[in-house]
């Protein structure tokens, strides 16, 4: 285990999965000590809190907020496993929004988390689980064992297995059923938005519904500053299955803090000098500086929800790929345009308004990815994304009920390319890549602007910028 830093250990509040209790963290807690002070909590309806009937996501979060506030910690983290992750996300949102009871949140750990979206789970599975939890004792015991076994990779040791089954059986069936019928289906995408709190996302390679792909598609979109680690061989009950690996990764967050994302596109020095020179007018200089700094804070979308926004970003990464060390956040700037409603004077009559068209098109693309490949667009390998984009461009994306058809997708994709390119080429970093000299046509004195006087081929004036590809950058 890595060495903890010199600062006093933060407190880690831990929330369990559906059918679990505070006990599921026992082994993990042992490994975390003394690097973090681990405080597992029972959620209402489960463990020692089985008698407390508060079943909605908001009510469960209220309950946890009170438990956190009782402790009065100045610096704390929160971990949520599966169902507990959704509660942890709600608490993080409240903390970021300034709830005085929640001051001091420093980190989020989400293990096989149930995302802000309605949880992906088949109706059959929901029905079965609701049926047996209220059945006779023998069926309950049998099915609880099967439930734990289905959610683990390698078999658990017998003591851990028995404890886990026992937790399932002492859960209030009403709370269990409420989560399956309602809590797990509550849509928190817009309310959660995008969180800034540094977040560690853990998924098990063998987890079915909430494995790596689901985390990429449904969880990471809500986290501006996240590290996603896939635990090989792990399934859904990560704190019980592999407590040491989990504890190590959590401790690592202290020594290897999660980088805060920002727009890394910076302008080549020589081009920055041109921008600063008398050849460039002040209004343009100010505008270029504003465009260069626009991506320095994490962006929270307004028109799209966080999941749609992540699909947009993933798509733009393929449509207009930039080098990772100099990447302009085009998606955020498109979203700004959608939310302030500024258009370019027209739209295809076949498409709805820009905001609606974007949301519908991104949903359509994602649905096509799921229909064709079984996972969402953002989790697809680049090559597979490319094949889908090729189909969109050709007007051949299969029609998904209720959203845009292939012809509409083709037109929307034309709009997207246009939006992306125009935002890209407005950025000084992109103009520098081109070696564009137009910005230097004249400064503030309109009676004395140099303009251009050389028009022959291969006749660069000494002050004119050289394109980055030719400058060898």
């Amino acid at each position: 285990m890595s060495n903890a830093s010199a600062s006093p250990p933060p407190t880690l509040f831990c929330l369990h999965f559906l059918g679990g209790s505070a006990r599921e963290w026992e082994d993990t807690k042992r490994y975390l000590d003394p690097h973090l002070i681990c405080i597992p909590l029972d959620l209402p309806g489960f463990g020692d809190a089985a008698h407390i009937a508060r079943t909605s996501v908001d009510e469960m979060a209220d309950y946890v907020v009170d438990r956190i506030a009782e402790r009065g910690q100045s610096r704390w983290w929160i971990a949520g496993h599966s169902m507990g992750a959704k509660i942890a996300l709600v608490i993080a949102r409240r903390a970021e929004d300034g709830d005085p009871k929640l001051a001091g949140l420093d980190g989020l750990v989400l293990l096989a988390g149930s995302p802000p979206s309605p949880e992906p789970m088949s109706d059959d599975k929901r029905r079965d689980m609701i049926a047996w939890i209220s059945a006779d004792e023998k069926t309950r015991t049998l099915q609880a064992g099967a439930f734990i076994d289905q959610n683990t990779g390698a078999p658990l040791n017998e003591a851990a297995r028995i404890a886990a089954i026992d937790d399932v059986l002492r859960a209030d069936p009403k709370a269990w059923t409420a989560w399956l019928q309602e809590g797990s289906r509550e849509d928190w995408r817009r309310r959660i938005g995008i969180l800034r709190t540094p977040a560690l996302v853990l998924s098990g390679s063998k987890d079915a519904d909430l494995g790596p792909a689901a985390q990429i598609c449904l969880m990471l979109p809500h986290l501006a500053n996240a590290r996603h680690v896939v635990i090989e061989g792990g399934s859904h009950l990560l704190p019980i299955e592999c407590p040491k690996a989990v504890a190590d990764l959590i401790c690592e967050m202290r020594t290897l803090p999660i980088a805060v994302a920002s727009d890394p596109a910076c302008v080549l020095d020589s081009y920055a000098s041109l921008i600063a020179s008398h050849r460039v007018n002040s209004r343009l200089r100010t505008a270029l500086a504003a465009r260069a700094s626009a991506g320095s804070a994490p962006y929270r979308p307004c028109v799209l929800d966080a999941v749609e926004f992540s699909i947009l970003r993933a798509l733009i990464d393929r449509v207009l790929p930039q080098s990772s060390d100099a990447c302009i956040d085009i998606g955020a700037r498109i979203e700004v345009r959608l939310s302030d409603g500024s258009g370019d004077g027209w739209r295809f009559a076949d498409l709805p308004s820009d905001g609606e068209a974007y949301a519908a098109a991104l949903r359509t693309l994602d649905a096509a990815a799921r229909a064709t490949h079984g996972i969402g667009f953002t989790a697809l390998p680049d090559e597979t994304k490319g094949a889908l984009i090729t189909a969109v461009a050709a007007g051949e994306l299969p029609t998904v009920a209720g959203d845009l058809d292939g012809r509409q997708m083709m037109k929307w994709f034309e709009d997207l390319r246009s939006d992306a390119v125009r935002i890209y080429l407005a950025h000084p970093a992109a103009l520098a890549r081109l070696g564009f000299s137009g910005i230097g046509a004249g400064g503030d004195d309109v009676a004395d602007m140099p303009g251009f006087s050389e028009f022959r081929i291969d006749s660069r004036e000494p002050w004119e910028p050289i394109p980055e590809v030719e400058a060898g950058r």
């Binding site: 370019d344 004077g345 137009g438 394109p467």
Partner: protein, 515 residues
Amino acid sequence: MNLDSMRRYATDEVVDAVVIGTGAGGAPLLARLAAAGLKVVALEAGPNFDPARFAFDETLADEIYWTEERLSGGTTPEAFGANNSGTGVGGSTLHWGAFTPRADQRDLKLRTETGEGIDWPLDYDDLKPFYEQVEGFIGVSGPAAYPWDSQRRYPLSPVPRNAPARIMAQACEGLGIRVADAPAAVVSRDFAQEGGGTRKACINCGFCHQGCRNGAKTSMDVTYLPLAVAHGAEIRPMCRVHGTERDGMGRITAVTYRQDGTERRQRCAAVFLCAGAVESPRLLLHLGLANGSGQVGRNYMGHVATQVWGTFAGEVRMNRGYPSSLISEDMVRPADADFAGGYLMQSLGVLPLTFGNTVARSRGLWGPALTDYLARYNHFAGIGINGETLPCDANVLTLSDEVDAFGVPKARIDFGYGPNEDRLNDHATRTMTAIWEAAGASDIWVAQRVAHTLGTCRMGRDGDTAVVDSFGRSFEVPNLWISDGSTFPSSLSANPALTIMALSLRTAEAFLKAR
């Protein structure tokens, strides 16, 4: 432009005329009527800009484009906004390319010549004196001898050829295609503007479409509008006209409009509607005005404006210099044409966003191919055309069921090429591709594009088939005149603005004569 000391009229004063729109259609007649001593008020939907604020930037130039949403349908939906629609005192001349060919006299009689399209209800000789008057007044730069009109003389020597023009000239010479320095409403030397101050010579910045900073490019706010104000016209910016009041005879007695959120009403004896081929018919349809012929909104036309692009080994830097500094009229009637009418060709230098937009939309590149291609910006040059579009029933402007912020339905424009446009386009594509091959371009590709906004309130000989007569006077509302691209019965192969200005002066003379 400076409006500080202009004359002002009370809204309850019956002015001689209200002019709606201050672009190429409205400004010349505003100046002419004011010079004749009439009390005239121009209502402009957009703001009044100080040209010095224009900033050599394509994104900041959004302020001079009409960016309120229009719906584009049909088989070749047309882009609006920066492509062809302006706002502000000076209208679309704030962003126009200032490319000023005259109409070819054959284009005005296309029906007689080919049996296709429609004849204009006027002749070239009706326009010629007004062309000369406009060219002299605004200061058109052009070649000493114009290869396609031996009598034509331009008041100013041409602006320098940019690199794409040089490439195209050399290639055309080899192919036996005649070219010339383009007639451009950009002053190639300091120019004493009648009615205004001195317009500085063009500095060849290449930003004509983003607003000219020093007045070298003709826009109405540095030419006709200062003259109008000097003669007592009032120009009211940020005034959105949305209604009219009429008397029992059907004459318009007042124009209603919104300014700074306040409803206002200007009484008047006559109205000149000069809001362009989208906003003029949109207002008439919204008000149910002047449409006894059922022609309002019909026969919408954009020009076939296909471009051919190529990559050159040497640095072109096409942003430098007047963007379209070479013209060829050799294809106005190509010998091997299998279509009616023809097209003009021009060399193209285009700025990064506009070019990138064309690449993204028309070439359809995406992925690393897109990023890498854009990075070669300094090596591109293009040729483009402006080609005849025949009037067609399917091409029509209607009111959609969506409304704008003023409660007026948004315009829906359906536009598509017919067989004649397709054949013309094929011919032009072959011609331009041959030129670019001869020029040594690599990676040659074709960008489909539609330009300009024309038709929808066509002029004609009677009120059953047309909205206005050849002078722009409504057949139905006796004191309503229309002066803009909407009155064009056919598109012509020439870019429209010079003809719109000439027609505007002709309208003014007719109005003055009829008083």
